[in-house]
Amino acid sequence: MKRRIVMATFVSLIAFASIAIAQVDDYRKIQTPSLHSIQIPQPKRIQLPNGMVIFLQEDHELPLIRGTANIRGGGRDEPAEKTGLVGILRQAWRTGGTATKTGDELDDFLESRSAFVETGADADSMSVNLNVLKGDFDAVFPIWVDLLRNPQFRQDKIDLAKTQANTSISRRNDDPGSILGREANKLGYGPGSIYARQTEYATIAAITRDDLLAFHKRFVYPNNIILGFVGDFDSAKLEKKLRGTFASWPKGPQAVKPAFVSNPAKPGLYFVSKEDVTQANIAMVHPGILRNNPDYYAVEVMNTIFSNVFSGRLMQRLRTQRGLTYGVGGGIGAGWDDPALFTVRMATKSGTTLESVAALKNEVAGLINTPFTPEEMSLAKEAILNAYVFTMDSRDKALSQQVLLEFYGFPPDYFAKFPAQIQKVTADDVTRVAKKYVHPEELAVLVVGNEKEFEKPLGTLGNVTTIDVTIPEPGAKPAASGSASAPAATAAPAPVASAEGLALAKKVLAFVGGKEKVDAMQTVRYTESRVLNTPQGEMNADVTTTVKAPDMVRQEMTLPMGTMTSVMTPNAAFAITPMGIQDLPSSARASASGEMKIDFFNVLRHVDDPKYSFAIVGTEKIGDVTTQILDVNADGAHAKWYVDPATGKVLRRARVAAGPAGGEIVTDFTEWKAFGGITFPTASTSTRGGEKFSQVKVTNVEVNPTVDAAVFEKPKS
């Protein structure tokens, strides 16, 4: 009996397959007519004298209007100790209402009209959007404008946003994919990176309403905003309305991109234990590239060959052929204004974790050692080129693209030129970029899962660094930015500004000469001779630095190879070198701004400024003196001063260096002398990261010298 059933099954398969209705030819014989040339119109671009850029795109298909104000400034601009500020800001921006309408009143007004005014934020931008039925535009537009310019950030809504943020924190380890994403980011960028910082209860608690108002005030200006409108309106009329609304808004400080520091983790294996799962999640990361890299097009082709669903190598081999996974993908990331990461991700049952790590590594190595076949090349290029029509398939998309290009400073025809660039890519190009940008030996490999159920312990593959993702309790200091694991129990509390701290700061002020004299010092010129410890050995430098309060610095440094002059002011940042005049990158500006804030005399001029705070955080014996350690917060810039409490003399200063090398710079002041009634440190030695760094001897100080304004201006060349 069993045999008969089995035979019946066998027969049915054959019978089924031979039902012949095949009057239709093979698909390869189907003619492909040429594509209809329907052009989506490009939006109209307008620039106001105050710098605001506006894009308008009419679309009369439906009686809807959508508009977005895209604002420069986002999560990457938060101070590290207030990570999560922009998330709170985004929520409270809308829910906190305007001066005339609370958020709840806005809810009633808007929802009863099926209208939306909402806010958005990410790492580099914020947005205020409106989405309304055409007939309600005139009623809702003023609300959108008011909310954009005058959010009230009412405290009750800040508290609500904090509760939401804390809820997310408490749940962030519940899903393995979420752990994987966060920790992989930290490994790829570095844990303190502006793209990998982690919100904690402590950082959320530290955020105040003043912080939100200050952040809004720092960025929301017409010269930092790109408006985009699409929908059922008349462009001429809307343009008139927008000009009328925004043209009189004065310019403000230009948003400056913060310094980006790439500090990827050492290559190797990293592990997060999670026991309530039946699957391991795997990620492999190292730094990637920028979008404006001319190799980007070859990289796109490579990524397609590698990771296209289902036809790419990863899916074909790890899912279809081996059944190891449901989801696998990755490639070289290309960031718009900072490098992204090379990432691959995969999930597999716990019992095939090590096998999958090996298989995935093999595929990454395969990008370098397995030639790209003509078939792979032609499929990838055709797929990209034939699908290109979808990048431009709606008026809405055309608008978003122009806003994107404007935001990142790419030319408006960047996307239009894309197909021609892809067309040019050869197998040699793809081979070259794979070797150049994919480095299997540099990968940080992260596994999140239940090791008890792996086929073998992870350690059999090599040394494993275990990452502790325990969520620090509120009140604990957030994990130090240099370490991946930070046990919460022993963390020191964050410094709290205190009266004692302020008193000590004032003692320092008294030591150097007192408030009146220091306030009167508007310009100072130092002449120094320095010995610098560089990888090339010791180098002598003569340095003349002119500082004009509050925010201008000129430094001339004469080294054996020549003189370099750098100037930094709110209006200019440039260097004059033997090679000519160069503008300094925004990263240099950002770190210079921090340096100016934490400058010794700048701090002393601001002891009474609420943005500057002081706290005593400990003691330290230096020589015979038990100094008090004064934590200085200069409007976001930090240093520690080791002060002799008897005299107010600063014996040592410690500061985390800006720039790619990082590390702590510790400066010991060995001599103080008076010039023009003010006492200056005139001799010091510094170490960086514990290594010898420099010795400085100040040979002269001029207080309030006559300075030609031209020295702070860029020469005509």
């Binding site: 049915s12 398969l13 054959i14 397959a17 209705i21 239709v24 698909y27 189907i30 003619q31 492909t32 040429s34 594509l35 209809h36 329907i38 989506i40 009369h60 298909e61 439906l62 009686p63 809807l64 829910t95 709840d104 809810d107 099926s114 055409k134 508290d159 609500l160 509760t163 804390n166 809820t167 997310s168 924190i169 408490s170 749940r171 519940d174 899903d175 393995p176 209860y201 608690a205 026991e275 309530d276 039946t278 699957q279 296209n308 289902f310 036809s311 279809t320 052929q321 081996r322 059944g323 190891l324 049952k349 499929l379 055709e382 797929a383 034939n386 699908a387 029509v389 809405d396 509120p474």
Partner: protein
Amino acid sequence: MKIIQKTMFLLFIAISVNAQDLASFEKKTTVKKLDNGLTVIVMERHDAPVFSYVTLVNAGSAQEITGYSGLAHMFEHMAFKGSDRVGTKDWEKERTALAKVELAYAAYDRARRAETGRDEAKTRELEKSWRDAMADADKYVVNNEFSTIVDRAGGVEMNAGTAEDMTIYNFSMPSNRFELWAWLESERFLRPVFREFYKERDVVMEERRMRTESNPFGRLIEQFLTTSFVAHPYGVPGIGWPSDLQTFSATDAEAFFRKYYVPSNMVIAIVGDVNAAEAMPIIEKYFGRLPKAPAPDPLRTVEPKQIAERTVTLKETSQPIYMEGYHRPAATHPDNAAFDVISMLLSSGRTSRLYKSLVRDKKIAAVAAGINGFPGSKYPNLFVFYAVPTPGHSAADVIESMRAEIERIKSEDVSDDELKSVKTRVKGGLLRQLDSNEGLAEQLASYQTLYGDWRELFREVDRIDKVTAADVRRVANETFLPTNRTVATIESTRPAAPKGGAK
């Protein structure tokens, strides 16, 4: 060949938006029912030279029988494996090799699951024969040829989904690839070949591990559904039970396909740069080949009335989640519109009652909302309330406030303003769905399948417009009863998460 054309100008007057735009939209829709019973809808939008389609089969995981859970979804995976002309190096040889795989598997499976007289050595031998047969059949496979053809032609967003009520297949193509699309889509349902079936079972197991087993919401929802439904297949997870997933065969999947993938049980909606008059002959040429077959027998089991409250509690290291569900009738029931109104009143937007009470005022939940029509809507289903407690709060903390809002709906008439706001938002919501080829294709196919008429997409808004405060109250009182309730919670075994010191 029947062509049903649209003249629905009356409809637009009912909706308080610009009637002219909707009318021009609606004029561009053509419906045709082929001789074999297949329904095809073409809606023209010539903004860009692209089109999107959805093939909707009126069968989902609810059609599965005991021992074969997950089969509908499994077939959906198989629909990407090609046919006798796509995905093979040599169909004649492959066909024979695949038949041998089935024979070998049947023998191995019988031995593996024998309840008495098990012979382990023999079982292992049969397993080896089966694996050898698979390795042999694999030699003839051209991996992923179907999707490669689509990719090469510029197709994007290729996807498929299996729900309890239906299975859908979709992607978008440049509009000059219409005939290629018709060839591929008809071919995959004309002569699908179940190659690499057993490897794909492993892939689906990974999907289950990802969606259900390794995720707290996934685990909770599976427990919630199996507890809420004692008889009807809505209580069986669509992804399938592990033992079923590791047992069913290609032959089983083929049987499911033959029973349910019949043209009279399928709707195809195409939206975009397609000219209906030119497209219909092509559709007829390719899809007319699908053999006419009897419509499958409708589902027999009806969930019996729930007469006692049920509770299921998961104790986990993850954070608490709360949900409770009440049985409600199928979407075709006249009270459906009242349920939509209740859902919006309670949980849509910041003016909703659950948001105001639990999220905004009491701050005991970060999210508090309702889901109307869970896990499906074709059959009697559930109205679900859920809440994500804030740190320091448990599921028990949110119950009282949740129930208080439910009681309010039962005991107080909803205000005119609230009702008006809901109705305006429903209309606004519909409007915003009309500007996407993909979205429209899915809506048209869904409404055509559920109601037999895609126009119900618009009529539904009409019905919601007529709902009164009395309707809302009556339906709430009939539905939100303790005896009709199933509660599912995650209780955290971690010490209460700190309240965060937020100040």
